[in-house]
Symmetry: D4
């Protein structure tokens, strides 16, 4: 149930064409549905938070992902993340209409209807190895209605690549910066632009990187003020935050 | 040098009333000034990033803070953070016009001129002990031009207090949520509103809290998507990020 | 040997129908048995601690689990935990009477006789991914004689789901709350009810979650007083603690 | 407002002697009071959770503690913890009726009225250095209405001391075990008794102890099932949990 | 070259039957041999440290282990540790005379000649899961010439089992105590006997155990003085240390 | 009560000159005494473990240390460790006969009577900064009856110093090696001698040393087998372990 | 484009045979090429940093490695690291001219032309298990033009092996020291020679070694001044650093 | 004893003007001197490693520092580091000729004679707070004979400051880069120059910075190959390493 439907229902209550009791029953019926296989989906999440439920595929079976996608798609479109190649194939077999985005480990089903207006977002990443997380962020942002500019492989070891793309970055209103290892890209970029920036540390690296903890720490310790950070490899969270911001932009 | 002055200079270059060489000299002269006592201030930071340099007082002496405040205030106002009570008194003795905000450990000097338009921001905190960090965030946001709503002591152990303030929170466009210990407040709030939210973990707690690391971890691991996080006790960073967002808001 | 048998034996000693020497031999014979394959089982544990030995399957072979289940079942029923799907099938092949609870990774054999009276317990969990640990806790509690109410997927990101179940929770005397990621559920719940609550952090999550350490830390740092905590994913420990409490309840 | 008063008010509403509106106003007036100096106290906490608010003194000034104690004592008695010697003297100067328990770092004011019936609790500690935390737990438990047995210095390095006190421990229904360093006491005790046990790790130790983290880890990893754990040095939390359990005991 | 041979050679030098130059050549020839496949073995280690080189199989291929065993066995016997089941089979195929001790992950070849006199050693372990490490320690100690008493499954959760074996333990001069999880066994035992004790933490456990780090920490923090500790799962190191001690024992 | 007295008492029981009941009373009276100020001392510890109780001064007040020293000295001599300079002066004022060893932070009182025979021990340390811990170990070992050789400042950065002292080290039977920073000394020494060696990491260092954790880790990971380790800065534990070993030495 | 070509181009600009515009286009065309499969290679890296791009194979597919090797080899030779055995076979199938160095996990293609003069480098390692990292360092150094002396298995547990090779080490100008476990080799060596030394910790070890973190910490804490350190297992970084130094050497 | 003196002595031995025995005595007399107050100084260190002993003042008293400076200065000059302001005053009182460098926490005495030729070194730092460590590195490098260029406050948040100084940096042969917080400066610089670079993480920062551990991790994880790292705040180690390199430079 999106907000349009909700307002319509409440208007009908005010107009007296729907009784409060009936409206209450309709509302109560929707919030969340316990469907098959212990899958519970939250149809009201978009109402409360502006963002529909996204299926976190990592801890679900292919069957559970398929059920959740189908149930959520009744609202107009659905998307599952962290679906590895094998699981994606199994989901596709169960839901032939699903679209698999392999490198991003994303499976989508259907297309959402009209979204709130949303300013453009840049997703920038430091190295080739950061691409899967960057692509997850980009796909989720697009699913939520944002135009996305992708800029890859502009790590600080080759500063000229980054400087060459500054104008493109400045054309968008919000930046998602994805970086592993020492994660210096957002620090440098944060000193060059005035846009809100959300940094995503990745688990790329070895040895002292400790599965991304050093990248996370470096981003939180960055001296360029105004950078905010999400969990390691959390492209989804960065995309949701960026879209919430981009929807506020003056048009 | 603010953006108005910059545009004026460039217009004069175009009009031929200032030669490119002279303009270059003016620009080169400004970016940063090495003043007394190894203090370097960056007058151009606002031009590049939209936010003027703020003085990080923790690793500076009272003399260095006083010099930096005076130098930066020539642009119209200046603010130093992490200035403890003793140091603040010493700064006040050196710069009698300075204003000391004791609980927030902030010292300000002068008032900036006109700022870009900025939507209102809520600063919410979970416990009494989180107040200093919350107040630092609020003061910095106000210094940068944001109207700020302060809501204190709405931790999840008393959920009714939080629910009672939801409407106030929804009246603003961006939320800064400050929380120590297990830092559950932003998770709960993130499921109730659709605003961009920046969470600030605090070092409040003892034992397993490890100076805020558990609060930081809990915020990054939060399942409510769209929350972004800054360093422990980093009220400044949250304020700068929130203002960058709030300036984008449709009016 | 349960407590009834023990008291009977000691009465017989007092009555002179069993000599102290013979009683000592009977007692000495029982405490623990070294059975095949380096498996040692402790028949007296229930006497000492009120809870029979449970088989920790993770570090045992299917053969060792089968032997231990059979040996312990001579006291009236036995239960093994942390038995993954492959191992469970192998145990079942060796002990056809065993019952496999797959999602909970539990294998049981036989049914214990009468248990001490025990008040009802609620097992509540925050997300779908926490279900296996919650179910382990529920099965162990039931094996020990507790009536169990299961409530799933009431994480704080959808607070209304939790509030809708408060009355059910209040009908029981002890609560086991299972939560991963930032583990905010027990904090919130702890501010709403007056029951003893045992929190179980789970290893659900990624990145900064570090296999459940952040959830564990958040639970220990929680500001709602009176919450106690067990090891990550330790449904067994929570169930044993809850049952020890529930057996004390005024009837 | 305790539960008796609440039930009386609700009965009056049912009887029609108090209007719902007036009742609502009375209830709304009480939940929490913002008193002087940014101190907020929660008068309704006992209603919701069975335990009144306790003042956490560590992050409060002597003035704030004094104000909070006085405000909370209007409900019949109040108690502040983590008040070091200097601060306690300052509180005593402000509130001459306050009683200072120095080694436990506790300050109390007044005596609560009748409490719910509560079974006796044992507080046992492993070493002399653990005494302050053990005493904090004992004082809080007594404040909440529990009879308390104190047993000190029964660490496992002198096992005979512990065995000599087993019968005393078994006379109570709930055990709080306080232990630092390697924290082996609760493990050993957990194999000898059938009571619910809450273990409190302490920050006693040096080197690898890392401020109590090893004691905490050892307690959580303990193989004796049914032990639950609270934060390092958290005597308050253990006492609240123990009292919640002891109130359930069959009389 | 063992010490007897060395003394014989030096005597011959003194007697003039071997020239210093020839002796130097013999000695220089022996110290270490670079054999096939980048395997270097140290024939002189026993001379210098009293203990021959043991092959650490974990980071070696089956071929390298086979070569090292054969080369070292020319001194009278050889032993490889950390050889998993698959690798052990491959070694056995290459060196049919080798003996595989599967649960201890040890492969031995030949039997050393006479060893220095060595007092008996006890290897005690807390749980069934600690058996592989305990057996590694026992086998290495026997290889180095020590009579070994094995005592299994005497964890502190069943204290009576431990007390029942105290007399056996006291009959030996040195104790190796192997324990995982919270590793309370050595603490308890250390308060009951006056023998030197070497504790070996194991990686048994889950969640907060962090691969044995909590057991290690608990052992180092143990309040029973005189316990020394080796690396996690390091049965070899404990055995070597115990044998060095036992060789000193008054006979 | 030392062992001689104990055997005398038991002989008298056997001879019939002391009744079992009287003997039991005498024994029961001794084990531990609760003296003033919550100080409990364990007079039987030497009987059980071969080593008398040593007073751990760090968490005790000067008064408590004074009381404990006096009470324990009735057995023939007493020793307190971790007594900083201020506290030592206060103890000395209370117990004028006490002897203060300032750099080692040790205070002793009286001299123990005859000890079991004990072979000589070497205490070797790597740097000047490790001296306090080395001296603590040496004093405790001497208190327990061991002849001690002290060798200072033989770190591996000046290998020649170490090699120059090898013969001295080989003249003793047990080695305590004290080392901070990267703690390489015991590894090198372990490859050069055949004595049992106990390594003590110290908290000397900065930055990555993390209060001795790196030194501890390096010692546990050392490839020279047979080195055992105690807690950071734990000179007492190393001395007790070394003496237990040295008492076993063939004379 | 190597430096010779660059200088030639700039000379032509000065000579007027190439216009500045054309030169700019040539330079702009080269910096980096986006080739197939999201592979971006940086042809200018050698110009800027003196070292060509090396392919980090760990996070790339065999196809991506093959493409990158071919593209980079157009400058005269290319090298990929962290290519495991399976991936190396796949690369070899795609690029038959490639050479696989299996134990070092390196694949090379073609031979670079003339390099800047470079003094000889020693690569020394402590144990057999450190050989793969040492060989990676040696191969990269040779690829960059350095003559390399390899010295293996000179760990400090067998100090004589190390001392026997000191003269060889002193014949070269820069030392790369590779060591796992407690990593004592570089500390010892640093006290014996006056050469710049780069230490590489390896992930060899178990238990407390924590994947090389203890070795890393020990190297950073080493008291022999002048040792510098790279990431765990980072043979490439050590080689690049050593070559940059060796190219400076006086000839 | 510097190398010139040594060669003179050895020449005299060869010439027969000094007997080998006398020469041996002279050499043996020098290596290290045990002077007053447990201070041991190593006069031969420069002979072995090319760098004289530097006094690490942090763990020494003012008296010990004074003694060590005087003893070492007999070789021509001496320098102590990590001497805080109070201790420096006390040293100055004892050794009036000493020179105190307050911000760098360095005290020097006398001037060394001629040093080996040494190429110039740049010391660059990212923020004002990093200045003390940078100055320590610069002073030590100058003491060892290196010409030093100091460049301050060129952090990546103001990238233009760094780019403006690139030419100055390129004029020297070795770079020491000092950086705290997220330590991005060396990563960026490493992509722009071809000089050997030694990075020094500093303990500047708060919250997640954990006393410099994040800066250290970021530097080790940096993707720009060829950067080597020393311990946190270790300006001395960086200077020694840089000088060892700079002495190799082609002149």
């Amino acid at each position: 149930m999106d907000r349009t439907l909700l307002h319509k229902l409440l208007d009908e209550v005010r107009a007296g064409t729907v009784s409060p009791d009936d409206a209450a029953k309709q509302l109560a019926a929707l919030p969340y549905a316990e469907v098959a296989q212990a899958v519970v989906v939250d149809h009201h999440r978009e109402l409360r938070t502006g963002v529909p439920e996204l299926v976190f595929g990592q801890t679900k079976t292919a069957e559970q992902i398929a059920i959740a996608l189908r149930e959520l798609a009744t609202d107009g479109g659905a998307l599952a993340t962290r679906v590895d190649a094998d699981k994606a194939r199994a989901v596709k077999a169960l839901v032939p209409d699903a679209v698999v985005h392999e490198s991003a480990r994303v499976v989508s089903l259907g297309t959402r209807g009209a979204r709130p207006a949303c300013a453009p977002i840049t997703v920038v990443c430091a190295g080739t190895s950061d691409l899967p997380v960057a692509e997850e962020a980009a796909l989720v942002a697009e699913f939520l209605g944002a135009p996305v500019t992708r800029i890859a492989d502009v790590g600080v070891a080759g500063l000229h690549r980054l400087l060459a793309r500054l104008d493109d970055i400045r054309k968008t209103q919000v930046v998602i910066a994805v970086a592993g290892m020492e994660a210096a890209l957002p620090s440098v970029l944060g000193g060059l632009i005035d846009r809100p920036m959300i940094a995503v540390p990745t688990s790329v690296g070895y040895g002292v990187s400790i599965d991304g903890l050093v990248a996370l720490g470096a981003l939180l310790a960055a001296c360029a003020p105004g950078i905010t950070v999400v969990n390691i490899d959390n492209g989804v969270g960065a995309a949701v935050a960026a879209v919430k911001i981009a929807r506020l932009v003056k048009s």
